[in-house]
């Protein structure tokens, strides 16, 4: 395994080490692992204050950059008495969140990026997401989860779209329900085992399961808790029982917030699910695997079938991201190291693809001042060649075609399913993937094959387009060098999956 970025990381650490040494004296060692999140909270407050008078967006940018540097120079350690742990797994997801966060800030220049509260909420949510992926205790996880979710309820309502409050209300109400179920699940787990720490929990579960899951009532209670966790964390991920809010909220929210929801909070949900299933309940794998298989199949089918019926691009993308999470669940259902690594890789690639796609559609949408439908895309290749080409690449990536990283992510997911003998699940996934061409190709058809009604050039804002360019370059580059990310994904998976 060669981890491509390691030399770069070492170089940056070496250059900055004098400053780091100086600063470390002022930081309590117990906080060290959570410094990225704490820094973001600090910058959020600064952005709020600055926003009273000036444009706070530069503060947010600096915040994200500083946190990235912190991530690089600080050793990955645990903090707050082991409640939050930075390991290979959480670092992988933190980088996803930071990358998405940076892209979202670039896209925020389009709309409402100059407002203090917007920046404050966004950065607070970033901090929450980072804490979610590092949390190793159910209570800490819950707190972090709320820190991540609450700002997004407000952010979705802040959108210029007329239906924004509708979408936000739906999101909020269903989010509350998910939270309640989560607390219920935590209470059940605590009631049965008296534990909330995930690693301790795993040994307790092992004892309970060793007597056979069919025998003890404790096992049944834990299984109910597992189902509740899948529902409540899956709510954010947008998988089967809790997917209904996704299209409404994604299509009405501010596009930057949508890309944040799709790119980052989804991934935080994935990481929470992985932590709970693969760390705490790993012994019970045979009990939850059928559940995840069912969730995965239903999610894929629902996402793909409903995406086909959409006329608005935002809604289509929302449904397609539901379907993508269905594919991701295949990796969890496989439950092996390869499967989890495939899921992580898919999480990364999906973050790039979907963030790019949402930002692009949002940019067009702001330019046209209405929801983008297929008809608005007609002849985009003549009106805005660059945007159209990028859109084509992103759609092909989502469809899993070669020359894009989306090809590898699907390939490895299906491979992981075949590895454990679930070739039928891989086949269902592949058929879904073929089915999904129905709507991805429609975008290409409108962009490239239909003449525009109004052939005048469409001038798009340059900073968000730059963000999309970054995504597209990433998507293509990681086709040629999937190893650059895959190695880290495998490393992250190896860290948590006990063979």
């Amino acid at each position: 395994m060669f981890q491509l970025f390691t030399p770069i990381v070492d170089l940056i650490r070496a250059i900055l080490s004098p400053i780091t040494q100086q600063l470390l004296q002022f930081i309590p060692s117990d906080w060290l692992g959570s410094m990225p999140a704490l820094t973001l909270v600090g910058f959020a407050v600064i952005a709020l204050v600055v926003g009273i008078r000036w444009n706070p967006l530069p503060v947010s940018f600096i915040g994200v950059l500083v946190v990235t540097i912190e991530m690089i120079v600080l050793d990955p350690v645990s903090s707050f008495g082991g409640l939050f742990v930075r390991d290979a797994f959480s670092d992988f997801f933190i980088y996803i969140i930071l990358i998405v966060g940076f892209l979202v800030l670039m896209s925020s220049t389009l709309h409402s990026g100059d407002q203090g509260p917007y920046n404050f909420l966004l950065l607070m949510s970033f901090a929450g997401a980072i804490l979610v992926v590092t949390a190793t205790d159910l209570i800490a996880l819950f707190l972090a989860w709320e820190l991540m979710s609450t700002p997004t309820y407000v952010l979705t309502a802040l959108s210029p779209n007329r239906g924004a409050v509708d979408g936000a209300t739906k999101y909020f109400v269903m989010g509350l329900m998910a939270t309640t179920l989560m607390i219920f699940g935590i209470a059940l787990v605590y009631g049965v085992t008296g534990q909330t720490s995930l690693s301790v929990l795993s040994s307790t579960v092992a004892t309970i399961w060793s007597s056979g899951p069919g025998l003890s009532p404790a096992a049944y209670t834990l299984m109910l808790a597992m189902i509740l966790f899948v529902i409540s964390f899956g709510f954010k991920v947008g998988i089967f029982p809790g997917w209904m809010w996704v299209p409404d909220t994604y299509s009405t929210a501010d596009g930057s917030v949508t890309s944040y929801l799709a790119g980052a909070t989804k991934k935080a949900g994935v990481s929470a699910l992985v932590r709970i299933l693969m760390v705490a309940f790993i012994v019970a794998r045979l009990s939850w695997a059928p559940l995840i298989v069912g969730v995965s199949i239903l999610t894929m089918v629902i996402g793909n079938v409903l995406a086909l019926a959409q006329r608005k691009i935002m809604r289509m993308l929302a449904y397609s991201s539901i379907a993508m999470m269905g594919y991701l669940m295949i990796g969890l259902a496989a439950g092996t190291e390869l499967g989890v690594a495939a899921a992580f890789f898919q999480a990364f690639v999906h973050a790039l693809m979907k963030t790019g796609a949402f930002i692009l559609v949002w940019t067009i949408s702001v330019r046209l001042a209405r929801d983008v439908t297929y008809d608005d895309l007609a002849g985009l290749s003549q009106r805005a060649p660059l945007a159209s080409a990028m859109f084509a690449v992103l759609m092909l990536a989502l469809a899993g075609m070669p020359l894009t990283a989306g090809f590898w992510s699907k390939l490895i997911l299906f491979q992981s399913a075949v590895e454990v003998g679930m070739w039928w699940l891989a086949l269902i996934g592949l058929l879904n993937s073929v089915f999904s061409l129905g709507y991805y190709l429609r975008v290409l058809k409108y962009c490239y094959m239909i003449e525009p009604k109004d052939g005048s050039p469409l001038k798009l804002a340059s900073v968000p387009v730059m963000a999309v360019v970054l995504c597209v370059v990433g998507v293509i580059a990681f086709f040629v060098f999937p190893g650059a990310i895959l190695d880290y994904a495998i490393g992250a998976a190896a860290g948590i999956v006990v063979p």
């Binding site: 891989a426 993937s433 058809k445 999937p482």
Partner: protein
């Protein structure tokens, strides 16, 4: 034919000849998109001609003979590029593109470079977004020759799928009325076949010990018979859609008819051959035992497809549509050759692919030209071609004769080889000659209606300009050469075929 000079040229190229041939059009594709307009056309012509010359050099340099016990199974000019590694469970798997060629691959590479060049020459009527068009054309070339070079299942699949993307745009953007629907149908249909094939690739990967996607290793591994059989059926799904075989052929008439002329040329000229090549490389080359078991059903399907397509072709009134069904008819011969699997039949199958690739290109160019010259492709509408457009008519007559396999032209040798091979094994496959009989019938009938009829003064036909006839005339050269000098191609193919028939070394 090993010519020292050719080998010296190959040694001079950076990277090795195979990756060089892949990267050249890839880079040119980006440049063509950037420069646009007429410059893009000139660039594409230059690159495709260069590619053709390179593939001739390759054909001249390669030594097709295979020594028994060769660990590379006769593959030459090996090269690989590791894109990523999957390390899990103690083992590690490379996700890589591995390239290498043997005689059959070289023959197909020469064919595809030739057909792409012809398609580029015949693109002179394309004036809409030329930059994008030529960029896609070059990208298509990368995918096509990549398929014929790949020695790794994952790399093979990447190129196999890569072909769909530019083809989709070419059909949908530059095609005729209703082409968008045809493009989407083409894409989804072929992608579905590939999806089934991909699952089979994975199953094969996990059955193999040690786990590998390497085709040479898988070939010499001696896989369990049932796995081989399942894999063969999956290949039938994947390659059968491309070929196409009877129940899976539905996309073909749509895509061929609605595509622009160069698109049809490439579709019929090479894309179908990817199916035939898939059958040979993934089928009889990799899992020969399974194909021996499937011999009878495949042969029955081939004979049926041939006759069925011939009848359907007879019923078409659109010339392009008729030519499209003729392709199905001829590709059934390839399937028959593969199903029989003896040395003669397999040689015939490869010969058929090459010869059909060039002949059908002319037919499609003529059909496209008819639209410009006569304003219609409907067979009953066009009359008196011989009187009014003798040049176009001559090319058309010549190509038609080649299509139904006139002795002295390449199609005859292909059909004869396959028939000699197959009748020796199953006498009843002689039924396929009914297909030949019908083909001669409907083609002569078509000639009768279009070429040798009295001119209709209300619908005059203008003569095709020489600039439009360059492409078909060049294409007819190999038809004649291969018709009188079969050893030119068989010299490349026969060592590989006897290697396949000889079984696993």
């Amino acid at each position: 034919m090993q010519i020292l000079f050719a080998q010296q040229i190959i040694d001079m190229l950076p990277l090795g000849i195979l990756p060089f041939m892949l990267i050249l059009p890839l880079i040119a594709s980006v440049i063509a998109y950037a420069v646009r307009g007429r410059a893009a056309r000139i660039l594409t012509l230059t690159v495709t001609v260069t590619e053709l010359l390179l593939s001739f050099v390759l054909a001249m340099a390669i030594n097709p003979a295979i020594i028994s016990g060769d660990p590379n199974a006769g593959m030459k000019y090996l090269w690989n590029f590791v894109m990523g590694q999957i390390v899990s469970g103690g083992g590690s798997t490379e996700l890589q593109i591995a390239l290498g060629v043997d005689g059959i691959s070289v023959a197909m590479i020469v064919l595809s470079n030739f057909v792409v060049m012809i398609a580029t020459i015949s693109s002179n009527h394309i004036h809409k977004s030329e930059g994008l068009y030529y960029a896609l054309m070059l990208l298509l070339q990368v995918g096509l020759i990549g398929v014929f070079m790949s020695l790794d299942l994952i790399g093979f699949f990447i190129f196999w799928e890569l072909v769909l993307i530019p083809m989709f745009f070419i059909i949908g953007r530059w095609g005729e009325e209703g082409c968008q629907h045809a493009a989407i149908k083409f894409f989804i249909y072929t992608h579905l076949g590939s999806a089934v094939m991909l699952v089979a690739f994975f199953v094969l990967y996990f059955v193999a010990v040690p786990h590998t996607f390497d085709m040479i290793a898988l070939r010499s591994m001696g896989l369990p018979p049932m796995v081989q059989l399942g894999f063969a059926l999956a290949v039938f799904m994947g390659a059968g859609v491309k070929l196409p075989v009877w129940p899976l052929h539905n996309w073909l008439p749509w895509a061929h008819v609605k595509a622009p002329t160069p698109g049809s040329v490439i579709l019929a000229g090479i894309l179908l051959k990817m199916g035939g090549y898939g059958f040979i490389r993934l089928g009889v080359w990799m899992v020969p035992d399974a194909f021996a078991r499937l011999s009878i059903p495949l042969a029955v399907l081939a004979v049926f497809t041939c006759i069925y397509a011939a009848f359907t072709a007879m019923a078409q009134t659109d010339l392009k549509s008729m030519v499209a069904y003729t392709s199905i008819n001829h590709m059934a011969w390839v399937l028959l050759g593969v199903a029989i699997g003896t040395a003669t039949a397999l040689q015939g199958a490869v010969y058929m692919m090459v010869s059909h690739g060039v002949i059908i290109s002319v037919m499609f160019i003529v059909a496209g030209q008819l639209k410009y010259s006569a304003g219609s492709r409907e067979i009953p509408q066009v009359k008196g071609l011989m009187v009014q457009a003798p040049r176009l008519a001559s090319v058309f007559i010549f190509a038609s004769f080649a299509t139904f396999g006139l002795p002295g032209l390449s199609g005859f040798i292909a059909e004869a080889l396959i028939l000699f091979g197959s009748v020796k094994v199953y006498v009843w496959t002689a039924l396929i000659t009914l297909g030949v009989f019908l083909t001669v019938g409907y083609i002569l009938w078509t000639l009768n209606r279009i070429v040798f009829s009295d001119a209709n003064p209300e619908k005059p036909v203008t003569e095709a300009p020489w600039s439009d006839l360059i492409a078909p005339l060049i294409t007819l050269i190999p038809v004649v050469i291969l018709g009188v000098w079969p050893d030119l191609l068989l010299g490349l193919v026969s060592p590989v075929v006897s290697f396949i028939v000889g079984g696993v070394p």
